[in-house]
């Protein structure tokens, strides 16, 4: 399909859209996990995000999208020092992808036909400075998950195999989606996602009809539909760029830090990653809203997605962690 569905035209799913915009503002938040039923627009949103993101400046022909000429890895053999604009990479990591395809491997064709020892970069190389999207992340094989955890933490992909010894930068934002009915995610991987949102199909007729109407227009009257939404998409892109620029100058009062800690203690989330992500997400939200100072309101609006997946699971709590977070927020941050 030539043009993906416009991001702003997605009906509802405010939490999912908010989380994706926040990671676009501050990639350091560390990725989004979207869990929910089939046909709720998870993959549509990710593909739409790809079209929404601003372009990046990268060295021409560099397999890892380096921002500076001196960052280009030696093995790539890139001659030109020209910088070109390219869209932010959004790379799909399909289920059942092999280790070779993910981290890269010996280039068998060159080895066999020319007798050269060359490295064939994998998906992690292509995802550098962009997004790595894993659909059905909960069905991913364990050894690939281990690989991802390692790389996501260090920001560097180290390949030591088949006589190759290669390393390259691999900083990317993980975006995962899945259907919780088909399997749980390992807590270690769960923790690596900065934000997690649960999406559900809208239950009221009006919203559903609106979804259908827009999708139908997208498929049957594409040109007019895209034209109608292009303006909104580019306004959102501008807002993201403005927020990115505003992020470093943002003030964070001590009382907000205190709030973060108090909330995490009350929820009993493991580790300190919860506090840090909550703060980053709160700052990004404040920047997006154009506020100069982070407030309690910003924290409140991002707390559910930043903390919901970090709680100890209670198998008998049928309401889910979302309700628990909401309850605690109401108590701790009145």
């Amino acid at each position: 399909m030539s043009q993906p569905f416009p991001f702003s035209a997605i009906v509802g799913q405010a939490a999912m859209k908010q989380a994706m915009v926040l990671t676009a503002i501050d990639p350091g938040i560390g990725g989004v996990l979207v869990f929910g039923d089939r046909g709720t627009g998870k993959s549509t949103a990710v593909r739409a995000l790809a079209a929404l993101l601003p372009e990046i400046l990268a060295v021409e022909g560099c397999p890892v999208n380096s921002a500076r000429v001196q960052d280009v890895p030696e093995w790539a053999g890139v001659k030109s020092g020209k910088m070109i604009k390219r869209p932010t990479p959004v790379i799909d990591l399909p289920l059942g992808a092999t280790e070779d395809r993910v981290v890269g491997a010996l280039d068998i064709e060159r080895a066999l036909t020319r007798g050269e020892k060359a490295f064939e970069p994998g998906l992690l190389a292509r995802a550098n400075r962009g997004y790595l999207y894993i659909d059905e992340v909960n069905l991913l094989e364990d050894h690939i998950v281990d690989l991802l955890l390692d790389v996501a933490q260090s920001g560097e992909n180290v390949v030591e195999r088949e006589g190759l010894s290669i390393r390259h930068a691999a900083r990317f934002v993980l975006v995962g989606s899945g259907n919780p009915e088909e399997g749980e995610l390992r807590p270690q991987l769960l923790d690596r996602f900065g934000l997690s949102v649960e999406v559900a199909s809208p239950r009221d007729i009006e919203t559903r009809v609106e979804v259908m109407r827009r999708r139908d227009a997208y498929e049957n009257d594409n040109a007019a539909f895209m034209k109608k939404w292009r303006a909104k998409d580019s306004a959102l892109r501008k807002a993201i760029l403005v927020a990115r620029a505003a992020l470093p100058g943002l003030k964070t009062p001590g009382v907000v830090l205190h709030d973060c800690a108090a909330l995490c203690i009350a929820l009993g989330s493991d580790g300190l990653r919860g506090e840090l992500t909550l703060l980053r997400a709160g700052r990004a939200q404040a920047a997006f809203e154009g506020a100069g100072v982070v407030t309690r309101g910003h924290l409140r609006s991002v707390a559910a997605s930043a903390l919901g997946h970090r709680l100890r699971r209670d198998p008998l709590d049928e309401a889910g962690s979302g309700a628990r977070v909401a309850r605690t927020i109401a108590e701790v941050l009145p």
């Binding site: 399909m1 039923d37 089939r38 046909g39 709720t40 627009g41 993959s43 799909d92 399909p94 289920l95 059942g96 092999t98 280790e99 070779d100 068998i108 064709e109 066999l112 036909t113 007798g115 659909d135 059905e136 069905l139 364990d142 050894h143 088949e162 259907n179 009915e181 088909e182 749980e184 390992r186 807590p187 559900a200 199909s201 239950r203 007729i205 559903r208 009809v209 979804v211 259908m212 109407r213 999708r215 139908d216 498929e219 198998p315 008998l316």
Partner: protein
């Protein structure tokens, strides 16, 4: 009043739509055993490439054609099936692994015209992967059709071409979108793809029938073909309060609402519900549940992978789709032929042919954990506890061969206690088991809860848990510690459903002197085998366990 389609009429309509607008209806899920009826249908399908569930990535996406590359001495690439714009037929679709389903789903979402999934599932748990089932517009079940019911399937090419020309001009009546959405929601279909596909199907069907505006019949038939199989079980009693209130006398003079010109939602809903045999929905639902509950039984899932584990001898083959080349073995296979293959006497280059390639293989077994949840209450005779201990020790004695771990949870009094954390040490087990006390109430739910938690923990560590519950089933202590028989049973059932949903295989051993109905219910909701063992000794117990677990 509209009429439903006859079973054969459904088949004809589905195939016609597939021919008219393959990219819109996205495909067909054809559930049928191989036979003459299916043959008639498959012959009428549009020209398509056939793929099978174990197809590899190189065949799907294209890659280096190794044999041609080696023969020519320069790079030759093969075209992937998914890069073409042809429709695909997936045979034996019920065996389609999730990885392939994910790839095909993406292909359907992005570029693929359509996919016909031939599902030959015989058992309830053999159904098409849900990711694909959600994306294919049409569904046909040929199980009810006899050969005598069917006629000739002729779809004249000129008629199809004419329908295609009409397709762009087809208009759906006002409110069609709303009523299809309403019906889908009322049927409990959460996915929004379903009503969208129903719209596309309605357009195609209207074009095929030569209608400029889709008629009520067309709408109804497209809902039958696309929505009926997706719903939850029909709940006829649910819409009591949605019945329209009796009209107020004052409103009677007003003109009728504009809704009267289209088919009422209720009628459409009823039509869709009536479209399929009731037991088919039940079977599909059972299949979904079974798919979720399908744990890895047997001796801790043994997998022949290509990545880790104990190395197996390399075998000839072509690398790709996760198979890694074994360089040493490849060179060894090529070495004897070098003098023969060298054309020039002073050539140094190695001559490697495709037939020399050897692939790495590994075998990996994940450890199994057998979690015993043993009833140590006063009602379970003390002797049974001794038998359970004996069985555990017998199993452990053979554990080294099968890499089994064993854990023991005893529940008595008010709570459950983890007596033996997962271990393979026979010595430790004997020491801990010697002091197993008995007596008190039966906190069955607490025992199940601890078994569940332990199962999840061990799974997180990469092991395959199996729960063996030994009890006489008279649970009388609820989770909160109160002695309330009703609540205790409700708690136990709730937990059993959780265990079933987490796909932890289980086994219920009834050690009461006569079989307990309550325990059979519990086993059913656990998705577990139920084995009554009124007079078992340790040897018989361990025998039963081993055979039930397929050890």
């Amino acid at each position: 009043m509209t009429k439903p389609l006859s079973p054969w009429g459904r088949v004809e309509a589905a195939l016609a739509m597939l021919a008219v607008d393959p990219a819109g209806v996205k495909g067909l899920w054809l559930r049928a055993r191989s036979g003459p009826v299916r043959d008639v249908v498959t012959q009428a399908l549009p020209v398509a490439r056939r793929i099978h569930p174990v197809i590899d990535d190189v065949a799907l996406f294209g890659g280096v054609d190794l044999a041609a590359t080696l023969a020519a001495g320069q790079l030759r690439r093969s075209m992937g099936i998914l890069s073409g714009a042809e429709p695909l037929v997936l045979t034996m679709a019920e065996r389609c692994p999730p990885a392939l389903a994910a790839r095909l789903s993406r292909w359907l979402d992005e570029s693929g015209p359509c996919l016909v999934a031939l599902d030959e599932g015989a058992e309830a748990e053999e159904v098409l992967a849900p990711a694909l089932a959600d994306r294919l517009g049409l569904f046909l079940d040929l199980g009810e059709l006899a050969y005598s019911d069917i006629g000739a399937l002729v779809l004249p090419a000129e008629q199809i071409a004419a329908a295609r020309r009409r397709l762009a001009g087809v208009v759906l009546p006002a409110g069609a979108l709303e009523s299809l959405t309403t019906v889908a929601l009322a049927m409990g279909i959460a996915s929004l793809r379903a009503p969208l596909l129903a719209l596309a199907v309605a357009r195609a069907l209207a074009a095929w029938r030569g209608e400029a505006v889709a008629s009520d019949d067309t709408l109804r038939h497209s809902a039958e073909l696309t929505l009926a199989h997706r719903g939850d079980l029909p709940e006829v009693a649910e819409d009591q309060d949605s019945a329209p209130p009796p009209p107020e006398p004052g409103e009677a003079e007003e003109p009728q609402t504009p809704q009267s010109d289209r088919i009422p939602d209720e009628i459409l809903l009823e039509a869709v519900r009536a479209a399929l045999p009731a037991d088919l929905l039940a079977r599909l639902a059972a299949g979904k549940a079974a798919r979720a509950a399908k744990g890895s039984g047997g001796t801790g899932a043994a997998r022949k992978g290509n990545h880790r584990g104990r190395p197996l001898p390399p075998r000839p083959g072509v690398p790709g789709s996760g198979k890694r080349i074994d360089l040493v073995a490849t060179l060894r296979a090529a070495a004897p032929w070098q003098p023969l293959r060298r054309h020039a006497p002073d050539a140094v280059r190695l001559e490697i042919r495709a037939s020399d390639l050897r692939l790495k293989r590994y075998q990996e077994t994940s450890d199994r954990v057998l979690i015993f949840a043993v009833d140590a209450s006063g009602s379970s005779a003390l002797s049974r506890l001794a038998e359970a201990k004996g069985a555990i020790e017998l199993l452990l004695a053979q554990a080294y061969a099968r890499r089994d771990h064993v854990a023991l949870i005893a529940f008595r009094g008010l709570a459950a206690e983890l007596l033996l954390p997962p271990t393979r040490s026979l010595v430790q087990t004997k020491r801990r088991l010697s002091g197993l006390p008995g007596g008190g109430g039966t906190p069955l739910a607490a025992g199940l809860r601890m078994a569940f938690d332990l199962g999840l923990q061990t799974r997180a560590r990469g092991m395959t848990p199996t729960i063996a519950l030994l009890t006489d089933g008279r649970g009388n202590i609820a989770l909160d510690g109160s002695a309330n028989r009703v609540e205790a049973e409700a708690d136990a059932l709730r937990l059993s459903r959780l265990i079933c949903a987490a796909a932890i295989p289980a086994l219920v051993l009834d050690i009461a002197s006569r079989p307990q109905a309550a325990l059979q219910r519990l086993a059913a909701s656990l998705g577990a085998a139920y084995v009554p063992l009124p007079r078992a000794d340790a040897h018989r117990l361990s025998g039963v366990l081993q055979s039930a677990l397929g050890a």
